[in-house]
Symmetry: C2
Subunit: 653 residues, 2 copies
Amino acid sequence: MGGSADANGAGSVRVPVPPARPFLDTFRGNLKETFFPDDPFRGVVRERGAGRRTVAALRYFFPFLEWAPAYALSTFKSDLIAGITIASLAIPQGISYAKLANLPPVLGLYSSFVPPLVYALMGSSKDLAVGTVAVASLLISSMLGSEVSPTENPVLYLHLAFTATFFAGVFQASLGLLRLGFIVDLLSHATIVGFMAGAATVVCLQQLKGMLGLVHFTTSTDVVSVMESVFSQTHQWRWESVLLGCGFLFFLLVTRFISKRRPKLFWISAAAPLTSVVLGSVLVYLTHAENHGIEVIGYLKKGLNPPSVTSLQFSPPYMMLALKTGIITGVIALAEGIAVGRSFAMFKNYHIDGNKEMIAIGTMNVLGSLTSCYLTTGPFSRSAVNYNAGCRTAMSNVVMSLAVMVTLLFLTPLFHYTPLVVLSAIIVSAMLGLVDFGAALHLWRVDKVDFCVCAGAYLGVVFGSVEVGLVVAVAVSLLRVLLFVARPRTTVLGNIPGTMVYRRMDQYAAAQTVPGVLVLRVDAPVYFANASYLRERISRWIDDEEERTKSQGEMGVRYVVLDMGAIGSIDTSGTSMLDELNKSLDRRGMQIVLANPGSEIMKKLDSSKVLEQIGHEWVFPTVGEAVASCDYVLHSHKPGMAKDSAAAHESMV
Amino acid sequence: MGGSADANGAGSVRVPVPPARPFLDTFRGNLKETFFPDDPFRGVVRERGAGRRTVAALRYFFPFLEWAPAYALSTFKSDLIAGITIASLAIPQGISYAKLANLPPVLGLYSSFVPPLVYALMGSSKDLAVGTVAVASLLISSMLGSEVSPTENPVLYLHLAFTATFFAGVFQASLGLLRLGFIVDLLSHATIVGFMAGAATVVCLQQLKGMLGLVHFTTSTDVVSVMESVFSQTHQWRWESVLLGCGFLFFLLVTRFISKRRPKLFWISAAAPLTSVVLGSVLVYLTHAENHGIEVIGYLKKGLNPPSVTSLQFSPPYMMLALKTGIITGVIALAEGIAVGRSFAMFKNYHIDGNKEMIAIGTMNVLGSLTSCYLTTGPFSRSAVNYNAGCRTAMSNVVMSLAVMVTLLFLTPLFHYTPLVVLSAIIVSAMLGLVDFGAALHLWRVDKVDFCVCAGAYLGVVFGSVEVGLVVAVAVSLLRVLLFVARPRTTVLGNIPGTMVYRRMDQYAAAQTVPGVLVLRVDAPVYFANASYLRERISRWIDDEEERTKSQGEMGVRYVVLDMGAIGSIDTSGTSMLDELNKSLDRRGMQIVLANPGSEIMKKLDSSKVLEQIGHEWVFPTVGEAVASCDYVLHSHKPGMAKDSAAAHESMV
């Protein structure tokens, strides 16, 4: 150590106080960084002339304009195979999930016809396969069902489902238009893992009704109510139903297992649901099992989606219910859709604009709600099949949509004898794929708090309700962020011998303290929430160091160097805290020294006059220089005169 | 630049992966740092033997045991003067605030008798003067008054006030016992400035009733309702009342002005309220003004506090109201008490333990609620007088308490003719001291967000209600913290020529980029809330840099160095983000390099296998070394071979 500051480190470079910028400039800059971090209109703004800009803007909102003109036959061949594969999955799954939502089964087919077409025009993902999802279906049935019975008042229930879908779409599109996509980020990966597993558990439990052939069942979704409902009517269990259900479930699981082992055989598990439906229907038709306790789908209306504009309910009594359902299901569906889109985009190395995706998914739901569809998004399982089947563009969604159209126009009578228990088996087998033990284990190994978030979401969904699970998980996640800010880590830094570098003493064994100087580092912004904590914690560090040096007969603390490199931001409580710290150190005969403050910090320290109080000469760009200056004063003057030597020090810098 | 890493910086020191610690150890450590950051029981644990530890624990909970044994006569002389001074302020203020809370005036005297005695035993501040406060009084009257009318059902209202005080005390003490003192920190300085100014405005508006001599008045506190109420009955205004009120207000403001100009004359403004009361009473007695529209206090019961244990209401209909009122008023009162205690402790350079103070204030309110007192805390104005009068220990509270006792026993009849309008004048003059324009201006100059918090609190209180103001201010404050985490700043670092130091390019004009290397710094923890933002923002920095280098014909980006020094924490979404970033850079033929990650970060990168993916050889303790290594590879091999040269690089380190 030792030597003048000029010989080492950044030398004569001082920490500048940034020039004052007009308030509106700063404000506009912050606004842009907050809402347009990805600068989405770069491509549009760069073009010249109104015409070219319009074309660029159209291209921005309708990505198919980019790939459609150059669409080749070879690409279509890939998309055709992928589209037919996902259609064979979409048809039975659509019917199953519509049953799960307590809606007419044909709605599942309607929902696989219009929304995929809209997404093909507006979506920017090449791999997303559009369709209904189990979790949102369950949410619709539990939220709407709690106030309107789907059996006693099916028409109102249906209309509310359309209205909720409409609100979900409007909410999703507004999030995108208002650039509030980051709200979806509040659902962290850990939350989604726990939430999905919980939802899968709850959905599987609901299938006990179909599997056991029960007629009466609880409307609650929590595990306690369901178990009570199941075991209170053991005499109602139908062995025919159980046998058929377990048989098909086994078949589906085996095909899943095979496809998982050999990804090339993806089509085995993709085709299995449709195969089960066909087998089940033939079996029932031949044995007339519908008369022996096996419920069947029954009559399915032929024809394409009827319009449903007039069904939307915008009048007071039920509108709030639909609005609430729409917002919650909308966020959940969006989170799944965006996550799926992003994952596959990463595999294929292209970019997905989250806010644009929200507009696409929102529009597809708004248009869906006007054409008898209920909530759709990009389900993971179907998109994975799409990806594995080798889809190249969103054209595979168009192919799926056309296949569903053909089904709606000509093939609906074939589903008359399809047994409900097969649909239950399809749902259960799909749900088991949502439980990701590996991910939960990974969370536990890497981050215990994230594991708590995950477990909170799971237990909340399973023992409370879907909303409870979400609230618990988001609350724990936010609490963690707040706790990070409220209890920032402070550490003592030591010198790495032979260098000007200072690193954490508890991390680097080689780091050594400098006599008379205590170097502290704060690892978070200094805000109202932690200002008084930091004041006390820093005093305690100083007391501890004083005690240690006294017991070892070393020089006491004369300088407290604060490494501010990790202090990203500061508010007025923070500047007051520094002011008070400076004064109290002053009374103890110590000098505060600041190292490496950022420009925002310098600006605020300057405008709050704290910089004046501390003295600009005690601010250094690096810890090394700060300590070198202290050291210089300590060694060229008698100890105890630290405070008086500021003048001498100034002449040196 | 250039040269091998060994020649510069930290040389052969590697960034270590901290050894795994048992989960419970880490957990216990975190718990201690979160809830016992000040290590309060250090003094107790250090003692040996059960007896000595008991004594130390008693001393911890009853700080008077520390100063009482050595209490000297000279100290008592100071405390006596201070005690009598604050008593002369406490008596008129106590009566005024009790009127403000719509409670019997004598309660203000009761509340200045028992609680100060309790605080003298348990409190650790030497300067806090205990008493009732205007804001909490107003809150009690507006919250309780919204459901129970103080004029129609005065007994129930009174009992609810005791119950609310009881709950407030229990809540305050529990916060302290459960070490949750940081909840009070959520009320930032900015919030309190705005809130206090708003409350002062509202309280002053309420005094229009007394000043104008109105009989009917709105129960709402917002400015619109009050103005409507005042101007709808202009014919009811009493000139006698207005004249008397304005006269005394002028007198009080003049004395305040004098004392502010010459702090030595503090006793002038301290004695002014009592003088006003005496003058006003004599005036009314002589002129029989009580028959000419001047309302007087009337009969005040003689005698000490009656017990009120049996008055507490723990039965359903009103208990929730009392509980809610208690919690809100309790937090507000606590915030004021703690802030006052801390400020004066700082002036005199002694330490205040926030959690211990909460226990003291809580206990004083619980015992107060059992002896006919309502909510008390440490008001700023009274404590400032106490401090200026030269108090030395909490004995000044005992003296004040005894003076109030004498008043209660013998002097209450003297207040019979005290006009209410004088009390209003006393309240208004005290309230004007709560409006701190200077502080608001300071907030605007230093931090616009804090100013918004302050303005939000003010406008919320004035146009909505006290609760609305609080909710707005706390919500804006928390939003700021979340936004800081959700939109962390990322900046490009450049080399300060002639050194190994890297600093922000936008802050240091001297900083220069290194060809082929992009150094980025992230200023916040990497959490679920910002992981996807960071991924996109970092890609944009790289795209921008690629574009710039291409247009200037320089070498493209081959290495992306992430300065992780300011990343205080990371969760699993963060580690996944780094993993994805690494993979996508890999595909673009770039290498990610990490500089200066903390031990927690290293641990998580290791346990999530991301470190393995990136390669431990690409992690450096300083940015300087990281860039030096990249530079070495770039200059000793052909460009474009960066990825292949990892082996060569390894041999160098």
